[in-house]
């Protein structure tokens, strides 16, 4: 594990946009004065004429994206998760979701791993907000490989997609040759009979680390990566609940309404089992180095290990 390659998924977003931009002339990228941070600046260097900086006006940016989409262009509207899902929620709901327009929201800097900027910029509510919009697809990739695949899949899907990316460089965990990305399909990364850890985003690598530690204690954890939070892979979750009888969810998001909420909704209706939600516990974040914050909020491998151990004992 010592020499694991680490890449922030926002970087993957920038790279994927360039690749797709070469293939598709109707792809256009919008930003709201954060091109250096969201990494759409990388796209701008290659395709300056197809990169539209809307200035610091996210609500208008989303509306412009909607207008572009009505004419057959495929806009990727990019800003921090806080200002996309948060500030522009109603624009996404009414101007994009309601008419089911082909707009992609590229939301970077999601969750507490924003780090030093602190709570105002750490969006732990975006998945919950976006889940309430009918017809919205929500993808929260776990690493570079998955993020690039997700951007491509989002382009190919006709309809609104919310893509969630992070600021922090995270381990590349999906660089196996047989990796396949399919919207709405969870990925079983590890088999186990005692408990299922369902994770999303950067918490997938934490879940894998935790599973290693649990194994040393004789606890066999099944690990599932849910990159698509909506539509969620209900069949896979039910199957895992049947196999292991206990489920833990792990996300860099509020425990309210995100992956944990979605998993509970599925299992409570289809196959009730005890569920433990690990995430941000209905509090605001704070300033600090991202890695330290992930530790403090119990979302690193050790934190997940401790919570799961307590839950299964």
């Amino acid at each position: 594990m010592s020499e694991v390659k680490k890449i922030a998924t926002r970087e993957s977003y920038g790279n994927a946009l360039i690749e797709l931009g070469k293939e598709h002339e109707n792809l256009v990228v919008l930003d709201a004065d954060l091109a250096a941070a969201t990494k759409t600046g990388m796209f701008k260097k290659v395709f300056p004429e197809r990169h539209i900086d809307c200035g610091i006006a996210e609500c208008n940016m989303v509306g412009i994206a909607a207008g572009l989409a009505t004419t057959g262009m495929v806009p990727f509207a990019s800003t921090f998760a806080m200002f996309a899902a948060g500030r522009a929620f109603e624009q996404i709901r009414n101007s994009v979701g309601y008419p089911h327009l082909n707009v992609k929201i590229g939301a970077t800097h999601a969750g507490i791993s924003v780090g030093e900027d602190g709570a105002t910029h750490q969006c732990n509510e975006d998945i919950a907000l976006m889940r309430t919009i009918p017809g919205m697809t929500i993808i929260n990739p776990s690493d570079d490989v998955e993020a690039k695949a997700a951007v491509r899949a989002a382009y190919e899907l006709d309809g609104p997609v919310y893509l969630r990316f992070g600021r922090l460089a995270v381990p590349v965990i999906n660089d196996n040759d047989d990796y396949k990305f399919e919207i709405g399909k969870g990925v079983v990364l590890r088999q186990g009979k005692d408990v299922t850890i369902v994770a999303t985003g950067l918490c997938v690598s934490s879940a894998l680390e935790a599973a290693d530690m649990l194994a040393e204690d004789g606890i066999e954890a099944k690990v599932i990566n849910i990159h698509t939070i909506k539509p969620i892979d209900a069949d896979l979750l039910v199957e895992a609940a049947k196999e292991t009888g206990k489920v833990v969810t792990v996300e860099e998001h509020s425990v309210i309404g995100g992956l944990g909420g979605a998993v509970c909704e599925v299992l409570s209706e289809k196959y009730p089992v005890p569920v433990k939600r690990i995430g941000v516990n209905d509090v605001y974040g704070e300033s600090g180095p991202a890695v330290k914050l992930i530790e403090k909020y119990g979302l690193d491998g050790k934190g997940v290990y401790a919570s799961v151990k307590e839950f299964v004992k």
């Binding site: 197809r50 200035g55 004419t71 009414n94 008419p99």
Partner: protein
């Protein structure tokens, strides 16, 4: 279309508004009536559109940013031939394609869903931007209420349109002077509207009477000549125009006429029709 023909169509549009809102027992007649002449002018004179080919990629676009006045737009679309005029009777009914606010997936001829104020103009800007990016020659029109421009997003969109020199965009403000809670200047004054748009790098055209086709015609002809800037047409209108008891009454912003009031309104419009037929 000549002025008399436009006036006749506008009167039919007004009948459609009253008929629809009465049948729905809800809706927004005041702002639909103030903009009835504008809807008529756009769809019967100004815009390059074809009801037989509503999805033509090269068509001109219209976004009703003040989406609550959908009854006026629906009546214009129906009279233009996008769907039967009888459909107006289904306005706001369950299962109708004529939703309370415009829904582009359901109504033929609608270019954008709208209704949450301040959002339509951004979509119109996106359509105009798309034409510039792809070197298309279509034009984009959007209608805002004078109360609507209290929404901050309107000015985000205006700033962008001005900065990007979107001269294929025409923003029309229906300055009927009234919003739900009263006079616009009493609620939260948007004045001066023209100077605001000028400051956002628009070419501004003031229309003293937006219910007069000669003045509308002059304004839109001027707008076509403008290069390098978006155009704002600020048109003074009468809220409730054409229905005697609704004119200049804020209370008719969002209220449907009862059967008695409906009869009076239709009588008003019938008289106008008769007068126009004598000409």
């Amino acid at each position: 279309m000549n002025k008399l023909e436009l006036q006749k169509v506008a009167n039919e549009v007004r009948k459609g508004i009253i008929t629809g809102v009465h049948a729905a027992k809800a809706g927004h007649p005041g702002g639909s009536l103030s903009a009835a002449d504008l809807f008529t002018y756009l769809y019967f004179e100004e815009m390059n559109v074809d009801p037989k080919n509503p999805q033509d990629p090269d068509r001109d676009r219209f976004v009703l940013s003040k989406g609550h006045t959908a009854p006026g737009l629906y009546a214009a679309l129906a009279n233009k031939g996008y769907f039967p005029v009888e459909d107006l009777l289904t306005l706001r009914h369950i299962g109708s394609h004529l939703q309370g606010h415009p829904c582009m997936q359901h109504t033929p001829g609608l270019d954008m869903s709208s209704g949450s104020l301040g959002q339509g103009i951004s979509a119109a800007v996106g359509m105009a931007l798309s034409a510039k990016l792809r070197e298309k020659s279509y034009r984009v029109y959007t209608l805002l209420g004078d109360g609507e421009i209290q929404e901050g997003q309107v000015w985000e969109a205006a700033m962008f349109a001005g900065a990007r020199h979107l001269d294929n965009l025409v923003v029309i403000v229906d300055n009927n002077g009234l919003q739900i809670d009263g006079k616009v200047e009493d609620v939260c004054s948007p004045y001066p509207i023209d100077k605001k748009f000028e400051a956002f790098n628009f070419h501004v055209i003031n229309v003293a009477d937006g219910n007069d086709f000669d003045q509308l015609d002059a304004a839109f002809k001027e707008a076509r000549e403008v290069k390098g800037m978006p155009v704002a047409i600020i048109m003074k209108t009468v809220k409730g125009k054409g229905v005697s008891f609704m004119e200049n009454q804020a209370s008719w912003h969002g209220t449907a006429p009862n059967d008695e009031q409906y009869a009076v309104a239709m009588e008003d419009l019938k008289k106008v029709e008769e007068a126009l037929c004598q000409k």
